[in-house]
């Protein structure tokens, strides 16, 4: 019996993505390195010393982009989870799996740099306000997602359980959005945007590299 076109597409898609990702990753990595170098240059040699906070405010150049990425990556991950659940495509779940560790890392970095910035600026490493708490919940969502994926042996069931967790976790995002301070006009946006671009390229490169591993691992299973 001839396979339907949908079947062919479903089967061919991971292989096509595998080679496409392989072509894109080196370019993205170079772009990330260049943008990162430019961002560091702005952070340490262009941006002036802050009148109130002194030099410590230079942390903004990694803290804000890391916090952005922690949320953006979650949105993209939840998007792929929704696509996977509604269209039942393995590739969408694979993309979501590939994004989780990078998102977890940026969430950790946002918390770490936030704590280090908070100590000299507000006198405390950690305060239990909405912004810290919601970012911590975000970290637990990422870690929970990865743990759930690792704990369920049947890949199809794992895909679905993880996707449901990812979608339920989107409830946390408005909490972060409303609690972050409005940084417009208070930070040197240019440098933050350059570093943000570097983190974007880095994240895409890492997610595409990881999805290649996920595809090979699915092949092996």
């Amino acid at each position: 019996m001839p396979k339907s076109i949908a079947d062919c597409l479903r089967h061919a898609a991971p292989q096509a993505l595998y080679s496409l990702a392989g072509c894109l990753v080196p370019w993205l990595a170079v772009a990330a390195a260049l943008a990162g170098a430019a961002g560091l240059y702005v952070a340490f040699f262009v941006a002036p010393t802050d009148a109130q906070q002194g030099e410590v405010y230079r942390i903004v150049f990694v803290h804000v982009p890391a916090a952005w990425m922690s949320m953006f990556i979650y949105v993209v991950m939840a998007f792929w989870a929704a696509v996977g659940l509604s269209l039942n495509t393995r590739l969408a779940f694979m993309m979501a799996h590939a994004l989780a560790p990078t998102g977890a890392m940026f969430t950790f970095l946002a918390l770490w740099t936030g704590a280090i910035w908070g100590k000299p600026t507000w006198g405390a490493w950690w305060v239990w306000d909405a912004r810290f708490a919601s970012e911590l919940i975000l970290l637990f969502l990422y870690l929970g997602y990865m743990a759930l994926n690792a704990a369920i042996d049947d890949p199809r069931r794992a895909d679905r359980a993880c996707a449901l967790l990812a979608l339920a976790g989107t409830l946390n995002l408005p909490l972060i959005c409303y609690s972050v301070p409005n940084i417009a006009g208070r930070t040197p946006l240019q440098g933050v945007l350059i570093m943000g671009a570097a983190f974007w390229m880095y994240s895409i490169a890492l997610a595409l590299s990881r999805v290649r591993c996920v595809i090979l691992e699915a092949e092996a299973a």
């Binding site: 010393t49 890392m105 970095l109 770490w112 910035w117 092949e219 092996a220």
Partner: protein, 55 residues
């Protein structure tokens, strides 16, 4: 911003521990992740190669 000397750059006006504590940990994390991923890739590629050889 121009720094008078290398040591002044490192000291960051006495806030060096905070500034470098943030930047160095970011650099380490951003380097560690691709490295761990390369290990994961080598594992699965080796596994698939072994399987292919044994037929």
């Amino acid at each position: 911003m121009s720094w008078a000397s290398w040591s002044e750059f490192v000291a960051m006006n006495g806030q060096g521990a905070y500034v470098w504590g943030a930047f160095v940990v970011c650099a380490v994390a951003l380097a560690l992740e691709p490295w761990l991923l390369a290990l994961r890739r080598r594992n699965i590629v080796d596994y698939l190669r072994r399987g292919a050889r044994q037929g």
